[in-house]
Each structure stands twice: as C-alpha cells, then as structure tokens.
C-alpha cells in the first residue's frame, strides 16, 4: 500500500518513469525539470532533498514521488489565485490532492493566508509543498512550478494532482514537528499576515523585535501554536532592526496563542529518528529547507521521512519547519 515510491534519480530514469504513464510529483532544478518529457506529472523547483542515503543538494538529480492511482484516473489542474479557493471542492470525494505552489508569489501568500477558510478544507486530504530555489540563486531566479502535461513553467499558479482512490482506501495525513512550545510568554497578534511589528504578550501590546532581543531568542526556533494537539509553527524570516518589522515564512493568525519554541534537547536527526520510529513508509513525505539548513542535514538521514526539502510544507494548510507524511490505509 505504502510502497517505496519516493526516490532521488537522474533525469534519464525520471524520463523513463514519465513515459510509463505513471502519475508523478517531481522536485528538481528548473533546468532539469524543463528537459523532462511531457506526461502525467506536476513539479516544482527545488535543489534540496532528503534521500534514502541522506540529505543532498543537487542541481542535476530530481526527486520523484510516484502516486499509485489504484487503477483510477487522476486529474491535473492549474489554479490561479482566483480559482484556488475551489481546490478542495474539486478534489475527489475519496482520495487526496497534491499541490505545489511557487514560493514568494501572490498565490503562495493567498494560500497561506486563506487556505483554512477554503470550502471542504480538512474534509478532503490536501498535501504538497512550496517550490523554491538554491539559496545561491536568491535574487537571480524565482521559484516555479511546472505542469508536466505541457511542460509549462508557472511563477504564479498552483499545479494540483487530484488523485481519486477506491472507497476501501483512506488517507492519513500526519506531521512531524520536533518543536514544542516553551514555557515562556503567550504571544498573540491583533492582525494576521506575513509580518508584524507589535504583538500582544500576556495581554500587553509589545514591540516583538525588542522583546526577542531582550530575551535573547534564537530566531531559528519558531513560534508554535497548539491546534488541539497539533503543533503548528510560524518561522522567522527576518528582523529589520531599524523599523522593528519582523517577517515570517508563513502568516501568523489573529486569535491564536503562540509561544516561542524551546531548543531541541538532541540533534535534529536523533530527535527526528526517535519521533518517526513508529511511522510506516509514506506514499508522500517532504520536509522543510529550514530544518535542512539550520540542522545541517546534508549527508545526514532523517529516518523514513524523505522527500524534497521545501520552502513550505502543506498538510491541508501551509506549515513551516515541519515534515509532512501521508500514508494510505486499506479497510
């Protein structure tokens, strides 16, 4: 059911798989992706991967997730920001939808802010990731997604593979978040968004940058909110020391209580291995590029959770510094 269907390969092997007619999600460098044959696949640009042999940065290889349609026919669709709120309504009644969004685009921000409000959100499994670029290419190139049917590269659209499944199969979407809220202050925001200068700490309006400086917070540790048992992160992107404006990799939401994450007791890979010991092989998984960079995962393994190391992970809504893991269960 959850076969070993995720693999880092060279482009000729990817081309062979595409020509077999399989439904695929492919992550790789833009130059490699555009050279692949047309077929039933969606893709996104990213050169960071967690392979079975460990973390790897490659502009030559592509990471393939083969999605088993169980004999049914999947559908690939492009969405612009106007149509994106329909994504779950158009999802199969039983099955899942895999979405790839280009980072820093309007559609990325639209999804990040509004996905929880989409109709049928949470009712039907939506998983996927946000494409990115090599950090050396910042300012030179932009993250893109690709519609494998046409080979079209898209900077401001989402590509979605809607995968129906037989009625006797259900989908389990899980996350692995090693960060847990510390015992510090409760932080809230009056307004949601990707940036903030002030917040409310224990009921008092407070400049957030000043607060973080005063407590000496390591901004590699995210804000964490408890969503009825699910720990959801918001990662820090930058702090402007002059204006005091803080930007985040995902939006903060109003009426949500956050706490700063506590430091990990072990190394990331040890902690990750322990938390994923009982997980079965996924039919899809991905992890965050910030975990890859901050925890220096190049060459290191993270248990059974492999996949692209992305600029945002999607398990229904946008996540940061979190691994997403999807399995299928036959009833």
């Amino acid at each position: 059911m959850n076969a070993l269907n995720q693999v880092l390969v060279d482009p000729p092997d990817a081309a062979k798989l595409i020509r077999s007619g399989a439904y695929l999600a492919i992550a790789g460098d833009e130059a490699v992706l555009v050279g692949l044959p047309k077929g039933n696949w969606i893709g996104g640009t990213i050169p960071y991967f967690m392979a079975r042999d460990g973390g790897e940065t490659s502009r030559e290889k592509v990471f393939i997730t083969a999605l088993d349609a169980q004999g049914l026919t999947a559908r690939i669709t492009q969405y612009d920001a106007t149509r994106l709120p329909q994504v779950c309504l158009e999802a199969p009644d039983n099955g899942f939808s895999m979405i790839i969004l280009p980072a820093f685009s309007q559609i990325h921000f639209e999804f990040a802010k509004n996905a929880p409000m989409y109709d049928d959100m949470y009712l039907k499994p939506l998983i996927g990731w946000v494409s990115g670029i090599h950090l050396d290419d910042m300012g030179l190139r932009s993250p893109k997604v690709i519609d494998g049917r046409t080979g079209e590269l898209l900077e401001n659209r989402a590509v979605v593979l809607h995968m129906p499944l037989p009625e006797n199969i259900s989908v389990n979407v899980n996350i692995v978040n090693l960060f847990s809220p510390g015992s510090g202050d409760v932080i809230e925001f009056d307004d949601g968004g990707f940036e903030a200068s002030t917040c409310v700490i224990n009921g008092q309006p407070t400049p957030l940058a000043q607060y973080l400086r005063a407590i000496g917070h390591d901004t590699r540790l995210p804000l964490v909110a408890d969503y009825n048992g699910a720990r959801i992160n918001v990662s820090f992107k930058s702090i402007n020391p002059d204006s005091g404006v803080i930007t985040f990799y995902g939006p903060v939401f109003p009426h949500t209580q956050y706490r700063l994450a506590q430091p990990l007791a072990d190394s990331y890979e040890t902690a990750f291995e322990r938390s994923t010991a009982e997980l079965v092989n996924a039919c899809f998984s991905c992890n965050c590029v910030l975990n890859y960079l901050y925890c220096e995962l190049e060459g290191k393994r993270t248990g059974r959770v492999i996949g692209p190391m992305t600029f945002g992970e999607i398990a229904y809504q946008l996540l940061n510094q979190t691994a997403v893991h999807m399995t299928l269960e036959r009833h």
Binding site: T82, Y122, N172, Y227, N228, G229, I232, Y316
Partner: protein, 269 residues
C-alpha cells in the same frame, strides 16, 4: 401640482426589483448580447420642466443629478433569463447599504440576493450549485461565505420545515432517541456504540464551544476544530453557528472509520 406621466419602462423594472419610495428607477438599459438588465436607482425627487416646442408646451421628467463621482453597482436577482444589475450614482448613507436593492460597499451582491444565498448555505446547498443557480463567480461566493464565517456579515435565517425536522429536534427528545439507540445497540451490536452522534446531540455544541475537550489524533480534525472554535467565538449569529456545527458533524460523519479514538470519547460524554 404633479403632472400625470405614464409609467416608463424603468418604472416597471423598478417595481420588479422591489424598489420602495423615495427610491425609484431613473434609467434602465437592456443588453441583448450579454443578456443583462442594468437599472439605475436614485432617491432624488422627480423634477419636471416645461419645454416649449413647435407644437406647444410639454412637461418632461429631468434626469437625476449626478451626486457621486463613481457609478456603483451590485448584482441583483435575475429578471427572468436576464442577469440584473442595480446601479446608483447617489451618495449612499450607511443605512442605505442595508436596503434590499443595494449591498454593502465591498459585496458584489445586493442584500436581496445575499439573503437568498445565505438561505441556501444554511440549508446545506453545495457552493458550486449556488454558483450555478445565481450565475455568480465562485470567488465572489467564497468571499461572501468568508465574511459570514468570520462574523463580518449577519443575516437572519428561518429554517425550512424539512431542515427544522433534521436539525432542530428538542435536545431532550434527541437525547432520549440517542439513549434508546444505545440501549438497542448494547443488545444487538456493540460496534455501533462508537457511531457518530446525531447532529442534534448536545455533544457537538460542547465540542465546538470548548466546553468539551477530547484527545484528537487526526490532523484534519485537529485543524478543523481549531478553526471552527475560533469562528464560533467571533460569531454574533446563532444561525451561522448552526452552519459551523453542521460542518463539524459532516467532517466526523465522513471520516467515521478513522476517528474511532475520537468517537469513543464523544460517545462517553
């Protein structure tokens, strides 16, 4: 003395659109290509002037003065097969936006059509079906529902007889029904003991308001409940809360086979 003037086409359209004095239709345009009717509405009193021509004096109705720089318009209920838009160039007071033939400044629908859409949403009609019925773009409908969900819009809802039967059973009757069902399950089939409580069961209200906390293992359920609780905290309207309860119930019903752990706790309450 007010001169007698026969009703003009726009006056008939004004009546059909539900306008009430002092509001009146000042102009209408019918586009056969786009199959749309455009009706301009004003509350300026009718002004007349005497015009002298070759065949004597004639009383004519003057066009209303332009009082607002931009023409604003809202989608109204259809006029048979034609899509209807209400326009105005008048400056509107906040209370004017509550009139049935106008809508809030940032809403594309008139209040009349919004009430109809709200009714369909409350009756559980699929969004895509509503789009088809009213021929409205999905994005506009989604924004409307977003505002409803976040307490930015408020409408009254009188449930249909069918919906009343389905959702509005008195809690005591519902509880009794549930106990009878459980008793019979004990005798017949223990498996159904962890079935989904009926929509009318008070357990859903407790769960959505935070009066009941259970351990949830399923990510989708954790995220959905967090969203619904936040929305319910913000909502002024009991009607929209029912919509949220239905959303919660629908989720659990749909995912019953993977929610055994959660359902066991709900049925214990």
């Amino acid at each position: 003395m007010k001169p007698y003037l026969p009703l003009r086409t726009e006056d008939y359209f004004g009546k059909a659109a539900g306008l009430q004095a002092p509001w009146r239709a000042s102009k209408c345009a019918v586009n056969d290509v786009t199959r749309t009717v455009h009706l301009w509405v004003t509350n300026q009193a009718v002004e007349f002037e005497q015009r002298h021509g070759w065949f004597g004096a004639k009383t004519v109705q003057m066009a209303p003065r332009q009082t607002h720089l931009t023409d604003r318009h809202w989608r109204h209920v259809d006029c048979m097969d034609y899509t209807c838009f209400i326009h105005t160039a008048d400056s509107l007071e906040p209370a004017d936006h509550e009139l049935d033939w106008f809508g809030p400044p940032d809403l594309p629908f008139t209040k009349r059509i919004a009430k109809k859409i709200f009714l369909l949403l409350m009756e559980g009609t699929d969004l895509q079906v509503i789009c088809d019925i009213f021929k409205v773009p999905f994005a506009e409908l989604w924004k409307f529902k977003y505002d409803l969900d976040n307490g930015l819009l408020h409408f009254e809802y009188t449930p249909s007889a069918r919906r009343k039967r389905k959702d509005y059973l008195p809690p005591v009757a519902s509880e009794a029904t549930r106990l009878i069902a459980i008793a019979s399950d004990v005798q017949n089939n223990r498996e159904t003991l962890i079935g989904v409580p009926e929509m009318t069961d008070p357990v859903w209200e407790k769960l959505i308001t935070g009066g009941l906390n259970i351990q949830i293992k399923t990510l989708g359920f954790q995220l959905l409940l967090t969203k619904l609780r936040q929305q319910v905290r913000l909502l002024q309207s009991a009607d929209v809360k029912i919509m949220k309860l239905r959303e919660l119930h629908r989720y659990v019903e749909r995912h019953e086979r993977v929610l055994k752990h959660e359902l066991a706790q709900l049925n214990q309450d």
